[in-house]
């Protein structure tokens, strides 16, 4: 496991502009310095980050084509070879990042900013970027609805996906085949698979209001049998949980409350993964809701993102706040950080900023 970096010295290393639409997903590809991000339009771009944190922000190098709607999740295998994407086009796609690209295209990652500058009478010189194009190696088509949730075991062998029709599918990644599927009552909102692939935490929703037909549920499941092990209604009451992740040793599971909530009610709970008992509640919660959670590769820290533009780093041992990255931005309601991802060495954290950028934070050793 990598050493714990100096979180207190964490600083924004690069802002990678990409303002075609909201950036909704991000993944750092394992030990490489490659970052992939997805957006509301179904586009995926890839950047190669410089070695030095004070180097200029890089341009994208690759575009992954195929998705036709919102990219909801991006994950990478630990070796950085495979990128896995999920989207509202009902597909999950596997991308071989060691493969060569075929063809090129011109992209202007900051096209909207340029248009705005031109309107203000201060046009910027044209700077289209040539990117290589790539298609997915494999398209998994077992879903018939928006795929909102995706989780991967650290060994990269077992992938679990969940959709808005309540379908949960367990995939064998090397073969791309389903190994098991079952149906939950609500839409799958947050989903996390344990490192040994035996446990799943699934939160469900059917977000009607004032209608008894609505569904709110968070449960621990046996991934090998598709049976509920523990209903966590006593822990989470009637709150929607929007993000979940198991710790690398499988002993903890972090769960974040989301959907839009009032004020700083986007709380995060650290649970004992075996029993579901709440060990810590991490405060302050994210204003207006949590969007993503990620354990640091050191196994001792957890990062969270939410609908308040801020990323927070917490101690998993005692639930205390270690570092806050960024500042809230916006009016009464703040811009979101949609997703976060640590590099394999834990020195970088990428964040998907809805304002149209990928933030890359650097933590010195």
């Amino acid at each position: 496991m990598p050493d714990t970096p100096k979180f207190d010295k964490g600083a924004l290393a690069w802002t990678l502009p990409w303002d075609d639409d909201w950036v909704t997903a991000v993944a750092v590809l394992g030990p490489t310095r490659r970052v992939a991000a997805g957006n509301n339009l179904g586009q995926v771009l890839v950047w190669d980050l410089p070695e030095k944190a004070d180097a200029p922000a890089p341009a994208p190098v690759r575009r992954l084509d195929g998705h036709t709607n919102v990219i909801s999740r991006l994950l990478a295998t630990a070796d950085g070879r495979w990128l896995i994407s999920a989207g509202y086009d009902h597909t999950v796609r596997l991308w071989d990042m060691s493969a060569s690209t075929k063809g090129t295209a011109l992209v202007v990652p900051d096209a909207n900013a340029r248009a705005a500058a031109k309107k203000r009478g201060k046009p910027l010189p044209d700077a289209p970027v040539t990117v290589g194009l790539q298609q997915a190696e494999r398209v998994l088509e077992g879903h018939k609805e928006w795929v909102q949730a995706l989780s991967l075991t650290p060994d990269g062998k077992v992938l679990v996906s969940g959709d808005d029709a309540g379908r949960v599918i367990v995939w064998d990644v090397p073969s791309g085949k389903e190994t098991r599927r079952w149906q939950v009552k609500g839409w799958v909102y947050a989903l996390a698979v344990s490192p040994d692939a035996r446990r799943l935490l699934i939160s469900e929703r059917f977000p009607l209001v004032y209608d008894p037909a609505k569904i709110i549920a968070t449960k621990l499941w046996d991934a090998t049998t598709g049976q509920v092990v523990r209903d966590l209604e006593d822990v989470f009451k009637k709150d929607y949980q929007s993000a979940a992740v198991f710790s690398l040793d499988g002993k903890l599971v972090a769960v974040g409350r989301g959907g839009e909530v009032n004020g700083p009610s986007g709380t995060i709970a650290l649970l004992d993964a075996a029993t579901g008992k709440k060990l810590h509640e991490l405060k302050p919660g994210h204003e207006y809701g949590v969007t993503d959670l990620a354990f640091h590769p050191d196994g001792k820290h957890l990062a969270s993102a939410g609908r308040d533009t801020v990323v927070r780093v917490w101690s998993a041992a005692d639930g205390k706040l270690v570092k806050e990255l960024g500042k809230a931005r916006g009016g009464q309601f703040k811009d979101w950080i949609h997703a976060i991802s640590f590099s394999a060495d834990g020195r970088l954290l990428a964040a998907a900023d809805m304002a149209g950028a990928v933030q890359v934070w650097n933590f010195p050793a």
Partner: protein
């Protein structure tokens, strides 16, 4: 200016009997509710046997995410359009059953209305009129109850359930007030018996005697409104089996969907069958300033089976040709998506859908621009919409009422029915 009719005129029995006035040109003078009204106007409407059903999308449904989609545009959002059974008419992918009913729908895509917030917008889209300090306009349901309803029926003429309007009977008077069911479609508590039928009858007669005496000394409309409501409730007790769908609902639950709107639509069907001329069913949570796509998706999941089953059943029962079904909310929603993944209130180009009696099916009226930011063709105001609805129901949209000496027409000045969608 003469004030409203004096309480003495309202409450005197002689005033009741004198309440019939002969008027010309469809004018009626509400004797605080028009118990007696222009026989010409009412008779014409009643001959038609029309009914009206309002599906009220509380909070304001998003037109771009339902019936006026903008695929590929920055305002379009993640929903995808699907073809309907009308060439050229696409609807949201989450209304698949309604897509198969499109040949029964008149989709008005060019609503441009004048009240942007909820309370005034709800009033506006229930009355067709902007709120005024000194005039209380009647809701559509009250107008239908007056002009199309049957005053001798034991069943109420205006029934509603779920989140609905806020105007009530207005100047038409308390006997046109809505009769409300709860969100589950259950009758109010006071329709349940407290005692044996004989004891109930003696209690009711005693109450009438006491209230008559009270009314002689205390002349105020709220007391009379309460008394009327009680009278109506007693009559309703004789006919309340019309509201009991407990035996039938299990057979239809799967088709309509076991949701509040599903049950509401089924109840509405049964009440229309029973002859109630106006039923309103509200569905909540369209006010999606945040998470617009998630909430609309969930709402449409339950609306689609409910609405389509309702139309199908009305058609198969031979009732749809005489029942105007109106689908609308108080506002539309912005084409722009805010940083809460929401859409805010919008009145410059939104959609209302009509179907059934008096309107053509399979038509689209009006249009918005490429991004849905404004009406492009054939704007329709709230007044125009109500003129259309009244015309479809056989009610004169320029029927004139008086509040005191002030004339108030059924629709605002300049309102015109949209003839292109009337059959």
């Amino acid at each position: 200016m003469r004030p409203f009719c004096s309480p003495r005129e309202h409450l005197s029995r002689r005033a009741f009997l004198k309440g019939t006035l002969i008027a010309a040109g469809g004018a009626t003078v509400p004797n605080w509710g028009g118990l007696f009204h222009s026989s010409g106007v009412a008779a014409e409407a009643k001959k038609s046997g029309k009914r009206c059903l309002l599906l009220w999308m509380n909070g304001g449904a998003s037109q771009i995410d339902t019936f006026d989609m903008k695929p590929g545009r920055a305002t379009g959002g993640p929903f995808r359009p699907i073809a309907s059974n009308v060439t050229g008419l696409q609807v949201c992918e989450y209304l698949p059953r309604m897509a198969k009913m499109a040949d029964r729908l008149a989709v008005v895509r060019s609503m441009r209305t004048s009240e942007v917030d909820h309370p005034n917008g709800i009033y506006l889209m229930h009355t067709g009129q902007r709120p005024l300090v000194n005039v209380s306009h009647p809701e559509l349901g009250a107008m239908v109850a007056k002009y199309v309803g049957n005053a001798d029926s034991d069943l109420p003429n205006f029934v509603r359930m779920g989140p609905t309007g806020n105007g009530g009977a207005g100047f038409l008077g308390p006997q046109y007030q809505p009769f409300g069911l709860d969100r589950e479609g259950r009758l109010p508590y006071f329709t349940g018996p407290y005692a044996s039928p004989e004891a109930e009858q003696r209690r009711d007669d005693l109450l009438r005697f006491v209230e008559e005496g009270f009314a002689q000394e205390h002349k105020a409309e709220p007391f009379e409104a309460h008394r009327l409501a009680k009278e109506k409730a007693w009559r309703l007790l004789k006919a309340k089996s019309a509201f009991d769908v407990s035996k039938e609902w299990p057979k239809h639950k799967e088709r309509y969907g076991d949701s509040e709107i599903g049950r509401g639509c089924f109840m509405a069907r049964r009440l229309i069958e029973a002859g109630i001329p106006f039923v309103e069913v509200g569905q909540d949570n369209y006010d999606s300033h945040a998470d617009n796509f998630v909430t609309h998706k969930a709402n449409m999941n339950v609306l689609d089976p409910a609405w389509s089953s309702l139309l199908q059943d009305l058609h198969e029962l031979g009732l749809l040709q005489d029942t105007l079904v109106v689908w609308m909310g108080e506002v539309g929603r912005t084409p722009g998506i805010n940083n809460r993944a929401g859409r805010d209130h919008f009145v410059h180009g939104w959609t209302v859908v009509l179907s059934g009696g008096g309107v053509k099916g399979g038509v689209v009226y009006g249009s918005t621009d490429a991004d849905g930011k404004d009406v492009k063709d054939d704007p329709v105001t709230e007044g125009d919409l109500f003129a259309t609805i009244y015309t479809a129901l056989g009610i004169n949209p320029r029927a004139k009422h008086f509040v005191g000496s002030r004339p108030v027409w059924a629709t605002p000045e300049g309102a015109r029915p949209v003839r292109a969608i009337l059959s």
